[in-house]
Amino acid sequence: MIEHVENPILEIHDLTVSYDRKPVLWDIDLTLPEGKLIGIVGPNGAGKSTLIKAIMNLIPSNSGYVKLFDEHLEKVRNRISYVPQKESVDWDFPASSLDVVLMGRYGQLGLLKKPRKADKEVAMDCLRKVGMDAFAKRQISQLSGGQQQRVFLARALAQQADLYFMDEPFAGVDAATEKTIIDLLRSMSQQGKTVIVVHHDLQSVTRYFDWVLLLNLRLIASGPVESTFTQELLQETYGGKLTLLSEVSNLMRKEGFPHRELRKGKSS
């Protein structure tokens, strides 16, 4: 059920993550192939966002390690782009679409350097790719939800990365935006980029993705969408709550239990 690949672009080994001592991801072990469009699927509260946050080291993990391009995150950061959930930021912030897309250049610019003309041109170009060039100067709170999501995507494009993590890019967008986004993701994957997307709409999984992860507190399956997105595995992901597992999780929080007897250092 969990298919492993040679020369993975992403390798996760025995990853466990907790919030406030309550484990929300148990012993994730997986490898993912390069150049694919990959969906992470599972019910609400399954830990989909948590998984990519843990990969990006935005939240601490209790055990295990993550390797990207066979390296630790720090060494390959500028080859990776992360798109947070749209709701995670305050869109009332005084900035234009272009300002936000320019932020995608900050990683390459480094500290204390101002965006150059070249960066602005890249940013404009990325806005064009998502069909938002006409809104470059528009204040971000005046954009619709779909347009805001496109701006976030343009910012990711401006990073010119090889591996993309996107947290629910299709959530709350209109049909036109959904089409723009999926076309864009497909063309990125055709150019050899790897795109990993947290997704909650089961209807479109087989149409959108090459590879799929089924997640519900633990990894149920990982593999090509044709062989993995099956009735049986979906049943296991969505049906039959693992009540025992969640009860143990709750108990660990209540009692203030450590996850491992010996706290290992971060990563191997």
């Binding site: 990006m56 500028n78 932020m103 900050y106 500290l111 204390l112």
Partner: protein, 430 residues
Amino acid sequence: MKNLIDFFSFTDSSTRYVVLGVLLLMSSSSVVGTFTFLKKKALVGDAVAHSVLPGVCLAFMLAGNKNPVWLITGAFITGWISLYLIDTISAKSKIKEDTAIGLILSVFFGVGILLLTIIQHSGNAEQSGLNSFLFGQAAALVGKDLYVFGGVALVLLTTITLFFKELSLLTFDEAFARSIGLPVRALELLLTTLTVLAVVVGIQAVGVVLMAAILITPAAAARFWTDDIKTMIALAAFFGAVSGLVGTYISYVYENMPTGPWIVMIISGIAFTSFFFAPKKGILHKLFRQIRIKNKMNQENILKLLYQLGEEGKDFFVSRSISDITTRRPFPMRRLIKGLRTLKRQGFLKEKQRQWTLTKEGKLKGQRIVKLHRLWELYLTEYLRIAPDHVHEDAETIEHILTPELEARLEQLLDYPSVDPHASEIPYNH
């Protein structure tokens, strides 16, 4: 008047220094405050401001004099401790941030007042003027103090300029900032340090009690005028500087007037003005827009009605009296007359001896509203599956808001229908 000239001509060198100092202090605190405001940490700023008082007093007790370097160090230390405690309490315990802020603010301020009272009863001759840390006394800003406080203010402004890009990204989207490898913890620490320093330099001008107003109010006022963070920072600095200048002037003219409360009065005045009069975001602008919309709807309703009457009589250019109109639709009389007059002025109506007639342009305009109304009714029944007897009320408002672009799309979508759900003809203009 003579005072005014004295003050602003800067002939007196000590006045000149005080003014320069206040400008620096106020603008640097306002600039740092912009980030505090955008991070929604206004109350945290208030807590820090109150928490520097025990530091100031302790430093005075230990040093035995009012050496500004000591006072700033003391203030800085307790200010920092208070922030650390707020963060730790809200992260590690069940107590929420607002409660933590309330706790820390009152405990630290209480201790500060206690220490201040002890100092006042100690008979130390140097203590005079320490009181000014409560409500601020810009006039005390002379000599060495000015250099120290002014220096800190300059450091603040330079640091913000240098790290502007990083600080704004951190404020807007922390997760993304982390993901591209920005040293988020260090930047948070930097911003916290800047906030504490801004408070420390600001208290000389406004005092601990009112310091939060200087951190937050200029930024809040500036937000009304712009959607660009750089402009916002510049405006906040400007508002801060102006209020500092005026406040200092008032306390210069009237002896024993504390500077702080006056500065706060002025900056609050600026904030209220912005709140009411700022273009686009101000209350007044919104009010005017409401009135404009109401008038527009009223006028369009009159034209629509005259068109409908014409439709029934198969002649659009019949003269009608006011009672002809009101028997059909009970317009409030004053609104009706006002609307009729405006429409006449605009050339959509003609009037002769209190008889009103549509002009050609008026007929077209009325016809468009009727068309939009019926198109929308049809759209609601066909696409939203709403019962025909429920669509009229919606169409009454929507008919006034549809743009020509939406109109064209609606026509296309419905394929230029000829009748609405109530079998009334949809009038086209060809």
